[in-house]
């Protein structure tokens, strides 16, 4: 690990001012905020991340979960994953989020990982994590050996000729389906970003993963009021039963009335270069009868633009079956 200066900012303004000195808020940032450290310390040990300054934000006042005036939920950026997953309101009103978090990582990591950090969780692509290998995300222009190499676990949606790395988060998939809003404090003030606009596709610049700029500090996430009568399910398929990243996952929020689906929010994990909301699936479900034919059609719509790589073609069928099964199970609940 490279030497760094460890700083504990006294307030969020000091944190933003210190982070604003960084040349970038993306890959290779020379100033990093430290939450739980579960991703960042790992990548610093690998020399994939080499910040000169680390800002410990764990003692800033962003560790609260509070009801919003309109019936939603504000979740502070340093709330631990386990505290969020077991929060009574999350379990009651946003069950898909609780389920997603509890199917991710291990109990120890969930006690450490923060909401803000999980929004910025980095890919598990082996080439990204190995500084001996080229990687366009880590070293722009160096190439993507994954496209001709080991890509079994990598993405089939949102890829480019420069990067096919999967976003590994479970929490983010649920938040995409719940239409969360992300609150950012930056050098020019505060702003909010819709969840779907926060992560960006790799395109020609895979080193850029989010809209964050130097100094931008995620302060909290807001969930809108829960959809009345909605059924929630997070289904995760993986190589082993626990403590493993998704090969395919589905976050499903459905409202069914009179045998028909009146509202649907769908997001897929393990298959996209970013948390993958599927408006195609939502359109295919809305107003249709809640039956297998509808579910299969929605799954086909969600994966219509999937692009397989040499080793991960199986993910297309797997993701379809994952979503179909999740819809069937949620509808029957």
């Amino acid at each position: 690990m490279r030497m760094f200066e460890f700083i504990r900012p006294t307030d969020s303004q000091a944190a933003v001012a210190a982070a604003a000195q960084s040349k970038t808020a993306q890959q290779g940032a020379d100033v990093r905020f430290m939450g739980g450290g579960t991703t960042l310390i790992d990548l610093m040990k690998l020399n994939v991340e080499t910040p000169a300054r680390v800002l410990d934000i764990n003692r800033l006042p962003f560790d609260k979960i509070a009801d919003t005036t309109v019936g939603g939920l504000d979740i502070g950026a340093t709330v631990r994953n386990s505290d969020l997953a077991y929060h009574p309101r999350v379990q009651r009103d946003y069950s898909v989020l609780s389920q997603a978090i509890l199917q991710g990582a291990s109990a120890q990591i969930r006690n450490m990982a923060t909401v803000g950090g999980n929004l910025l969780q980095r890919t598990r692509c082996v080439y990204f994590r190995d500084t001996a290998m080229p990687c366009n995300k880590r070293e722009p222009g160096s190439g993507c050996p994954a496209i001709t190499g080991h890509n079994r676990t990598l993405a089939i949606l949102g890829t480019s000729e420069h990067c096919i790395a999967t976003n590994p988060s479970d929490m983010c998939i649920a938040m995409a389906a719940l239409e969360a809003t992300i609150h950012i404090q930056g050098p020019k003030g505060t702003r909010t970003v819709a969840f779907g606009d926060f992560h960006v596709l790799p395109g020609n610049t895979p080193e850029r993963e989010t809209i964050l700029e130097p100094g931008d500090l995620i302060t909290h996430v807001t969930l809108p009021p829960p959809m009345s009568g909605s059924k929630h399910l997070y289904l995760k398929l993986r190589d082993r039963a626990s403590y493993e990243f998704a090969l395919a996952s589905a976050a499903v929020v459905l409202v069914i009335g009179g045998g028909k689906i009146t509202r649907a929010r769908i997001a897929l994990g393990g298959v996209g270069t970013k948390p993958w909301r599927s408006p195609e699936a939502e359109t295919a479900l809305t107003g249709k009868p809640a039956n297998d034919a509808t579910f299969r059609e929605a799954a086909a719509a969600a994966l219509r633009n999937a692009k397989p790589q040499s080793e991960n073609g199986f993910k297309i069928e797997l993701a379809k079956r994952c979503l179909t099964h999740a819809l069937r199970t949620a509808a029957a609940a």
Binding site: M3, I41, Q108, I109, A241
Partner: protein
Amino acid sequence: MSDIAKSDDVDRSRRKFLKTSGTTAAVGVLSAYLPAHASTEQSSQTDVSRSAIEGAMPITLRINGKEHKLRLDPRTTLLDCIRETVTLTGTKKGCDHGQCGACTVHVNGKRVLSCLNLAVMHDGHEITTIEGLGTPDALHPMQAAFLACDGYQCGYCTSGQIMSAVALLKEPCGPDDASVKELMSGNICRCGAYANIVAAIQQVRKHG
């Protein structure tokens, strides 16, 4: 290393560094990782005192009820601090990347992976390691249950397994074996003692 250290081209600070590294090689650590008393003993031999270590930070950790005032390189993980600085070697380093659970300790009562934590993040925090659970004469019930149920083979993952198991007792966990397995999935056992580990945990949950 000694050839380099003898070279006239090497500047003084680098030579000092290498000399210090060499003298501490027997314990396998840089002086930044040494406890205060060891450093004081070192200083008479090497003229490098702890305060001269660039970037070292003062912190206070309470480990197993005992206060430790330390100066640490900020890169020091909580795991390396516990093992190398405080010399409590019951906590094990397995993968060092958060994939095996061997380094599990409790921070402020919750189980965490000490390899993915910087020690300086825990200034003022309460840390519990396997040494803080019980003693050979007065085992923690979980330690006794691991013995009774033969919940280990080589023993390398065992302290992490027990730290996780003790924390699990206070977490939301269903009564069945499957729930225990799910919440223990972050602790890998290369010997495959899982069935007996689950039995040990269930014994404590049912009978204390």
